[in-house]
Symmetry: C2
Subunit: 187 residues, 2 copies
């Protein structure tokens, strides 16, 4: 049962499929039921594998969470038009939609919760850096230093804070107001 | 072992002390070790009570988390001076200090994680509404509607987002830049 030590292609593809199934199921459990539900027993039950298989490939709960994050893939982003206001508003609305569709709020809290493990804090930093890149690029065209860092956190916060603190997402006019405050206040 | 059904004062004060001990310990475990560590076994071990006592008074993990949040008490706030810029900067620095000292980031993620339970989402909303009140009051003196909601989330975000997304807190100049962006951009 040690994957990678056999040479038959059939075994390799079966292991690959198992890994993909389990990663997908782990992400589903995390986003639908929350990080507390993300256990070997629960993932085994839903994915239809034995707990032994789960423990063989993913010995710890940390491994399960890491594989769930692998399955997350690339964050959706808004295609740029060149109109900075429209692009920032579009990017924040895309972020809002991902909170609703992909339950990014639960992904964020799970990553924060597990970040006491060093490897997880590295995974988290990489995912969040990647997720913020379009906003950083857009704002970086006219801001720098403390103002740039403040503006990035502020625009992330207009979606993330209501979601994490109150389980809600902002209306369009709140997102637009936030973008206008940054464009006027930091211009 | 059913507290409240006996009349001897000695028993009442013992129950009161047990409740306070356990609430304090549960909050310590939550903020020092994270919400995953907040189990009956761990709290019993540290507080020096039996698991039976814990399960009698706090049947579920949800009850343990609720009692930990009770022990949180009032959030620290910055005393107002009347200078809006100084007061907003002071309030955000106090929030930042509470993230460092009280590990409010872990409290926030634990509340978000458990908010699938309705009672917990009510507790979370009450705690976060209360925590944001000074900022809302200050900004409410010159903002309203979507702009007010955006500004509150943006200023909360300048501390909360780096903390939840990257495990860092913003420098003074980033906090000051955020306040200046809001004061100039929404004025």
């Amino acid at each position: 049962m040690t994957p990678g030590h056999r040479t038959e292609p059939a075994e390799d593809s079966r292991v690959t499929r198992t890994r993909a199934d389990v990663a997908r199921t782990a992400l589903d459990v995390l986003t639908r039921e929350g990080s507390d539900a993300l256990t070997h027993a629960r993932v085994a039950e839903i994915a239809g594998y034995s707990k032994t298989t789960l423990y063989t490939h993913w010995p710890s709960r940390f491994d399960l969470i890491a594989t769930a994050l692998d399955a997350l893939g690339e964050m959706p982003h808004h295609p740029r038009t060149g109109d900075i206001r429209a692009d920032l508003v579009g990017e924040l609305k895309t972020f809002r939609q991902a909170v609703l569709d992909l339950r990014l709020d639960r992904v964020l809290t799970a990553m924060a919760q597990w970040a006491t493990v060093e490897t997880m804090s590295e995974i988290r930093d990489a995912i969040n850096t990647n997720a913020q890149r379009p906003i950083r690029t857009m704002l970086g065209e006219f801001l720098e230093g403390a103002q740039l860092e403040a503006a990035i956190s502020m625009l992330a916060g207009v979606v993330a804070c209501p979601s994490l603190m109150f389980g809600t997402v902002p209306d369009d006019d709140v997102i637009e107001a936030a973008v206008d405050v940054v464009l006027k206040g930091a211009g």
